[in-house]
């Protein structure tokens, strides 16, 4: 194979964005050969924006069966991601899936199982994993510079969405249409980075979600979550779409110092002596380890979506390791599901969550949803 023949499923904002950089030739060794959208307006748009050699399909399953594609990029509404991905894996097609991986982990686990049974390359579109800021944080953690993690704290409240935004689509912010709110629509990158950068998933979660608190919507628009990790570390995650101007500040404390990422900068307060070592030896009453405030250089721009697409293409062609293996998608979703379940139960939730229990609670929400057919928006 010299180039991957690509089909894009779903021509919403994300699908159109991917076509943009592909048209500009910003990804090598990939050929857009087909697109699909249930919405005729999407295909009409495609006629104007893709070459004549690109086949147009209303039905994504016809696209997958056409023999025209080696892999698909799934950019449809959340609920349909696993179903379409499973169909692709069964046809031996490689999959690049938009975030979130799906709406509930039970569904995503089936997708991961199907991927494992296939001989394909599966990637999630986690285009913040290529952001040099978070790569550097992961580097500081993985190389041991930060020491054992003690505490995490992410205030990610700069996702302002007005009522006008929510009113722009009837499926928006409904249980049936999207299956969740700020956690599922705005935070998937943060929920991924929160555990990916430190290689630690919480062991249990106690969260406080508020539904339609700031807007006339069904789903959560304000969340505070407290988590415990296996090693005794704790963490806090605060998010909302209801505040302006909001904050995006990630703080990670370790035995050897503290990192803060805010305003596009990473600062590392480095302890000259690790805290536990200092504490064990110190005899002076008041006093603390010597600390150096280090400005850490961040090089390069985030290659973003096209970086992930290129990596997936290279993985197919040259077996390049995936930056965001598709199977990782369940991790951030597990956190999101756990936060909602903890709120519904008004109690702690252990991870991995009881997936059937989550599914049953979600079904209750969907049954009461004002939009009753999530699939209709595909």
């Amino acid at each position: 194979m010299e180039a991957v023949r690509l089909g894009i499923i779903g021509l919403g904002n994300m699908g159109k964005g991917h076509i943009g950089y592909l048209n500009r030739g910003e990804v090598s060794n990939v050929l857009l050969t087909a697109v699909s959208d249930y919405d005729p307006a999407g295909l009409e748009w495609a006629k104007q924006h893709v070459g004549e050699q690109v086949a147009l399909f209303a039905d994504p399953y016809e696209l997958m069966a056409s023999g025209l594609v080696d892999g698909v990029l799934i950019a449809t509404p959340h609920y349909s991601h696993p179903e379409l991905a499973i169909a692709a894996f069964e046809r031996g097609l490689h999959v690049l899936c938009e975030k979130p991986a799906g709406v509930y982990t039970k569904q995503v686990r089936e997708m991961n199982d199907a991927a494992a049974r296939s001989n394909t390359k599966f990637s999630m579109m986690y285009n913040q994993r290529t952001n040099p800021l978070y790569q550097k944080l992961k580097d500081l953690n993985d190389s041991g510079e930060l020491g054992e993690i003690r505490r995490t704290n992410w205030i990610i409240t700069n996702w302002y969405r007005s009522q006008s935004y929510y009113d722009s689509g009837t499926w928006r912010a409904t249980w049936a249409g999207e299956g969740g709110g700020v956690l599922l629509n705005q935070d998937p990158h943060q929920l991924d980075l929160w555990q990916w950068t430190i290689n630690m998933m919480p062991k249990r979660v106690r969260a406080f979600c508020y539904f339609g608190k700031h807007r006339n919507i069904e789903v959560e628009d304000d969340v505070t979550a407290f988590v415990e990790y296996e090693n005794g570390a704790t963490g806090v995650f605060v998010t909302t779409t209801g505040e302006a101007p909001g904050t995006n500040r990630l703080e990670i404390s370790g035995d050897r110092g503290k990192v803060v990422i805010e305003d596009g900068q990473l600062t590392f307060w480095r302890l000259r002596t690790p805290e536990r070592e200092f504490n064990a030896a110190f005899t002076g009453g008041f006093g603390q380890p010597e600390c150096w405030k280090c400005e850490i250089p961040i090089h390069g721009e985030n290659p973003d979506h096209k970086g992930i697409t290129q990596n997936w293409v290279n993985s197919i062609l040259y077996d390049e390791p995936l930056i965001a293996p598709g199977e990782d998608g369940i991790k951030g979703l597990m956190l999101s599901n756990a936060m909602l379940l903890s709120t519904w139960l008004d109690d702690w939730v252990d991870l991995p969550i009881d997936e059937e229990l989550y599914y049953s609670y979600l079904q209750k929400q969907i049954a009461a949803s004002r939009k009753t057919n999530g699939k209709g928006v595909l």
Copy 2:
């Protein structure tokens, strides 16, 4: 009365500190006339550091009965504050009390009742209320610049204490000796400012305290608390003595913007249109209120302990309004008690707390404490 005749009860670090600025004449219209300490070493120190005209007492009750003082400054271990203050009120003496007001709210409520029955001036030594940073925050809130409060977030983890510090006194960080850990010893100012600056107490608390997590101590040294306010706002308070270098960052979001206090600076992100007003009128889908980043000038230094002492003296002599009325001391302590109780119950705690329940839980901790006589350290 031309000058207030003052007795200082307790010659630990705080008592000695107060004598320092009084000796330097930094408070007007006050005359140190007596000091007391159960510890002979304290009185020995006093002989070297106060004038011969100052009477020395081993017993604070003898000091109060001596007729030599109009008011007392109580700077003894936490447990004894209410008992001594009540005795002072019963003798018609004015009281300036070191923080915290006491160890449990039941005890502090009795102190407040005794103050109310007396005709005296009662102030808490909340010497961060005179800090221009927090005064400015209160000003922005009280004047309506911030708008209705939506969220509070205080990360106050820069209270590093080594094992060596805790080992420096057998009463330290024990239930019997101090009755609490970081919440009672390090955080009283923050727990006061957190509600004083915005004039809002939480209505319920769900907190996660860890006991002896970082050090070999009995009491809490790591706390994360989530709170809900009556108006629907939420808040987070994170504190520990186990981290270096730690953080002190207070963020308050309102309908008209956001304030952050960190590194001795206050920044106000001011919305040109209040968020709710913007949201009600906006029809553009994506978009948010225009926001101005404003550097707010902070003038003057914190007059600190001597400022509060002067205010209390002026209140006695000229009826000047108190900056930190003694009755306010129960508020921060209520938050601290609620956080511990929520942890012990592993559940929500409504405010005001069930004071008898808290007292009974505290007694259990004291019964199991390795230091069994809290009063012995007075």
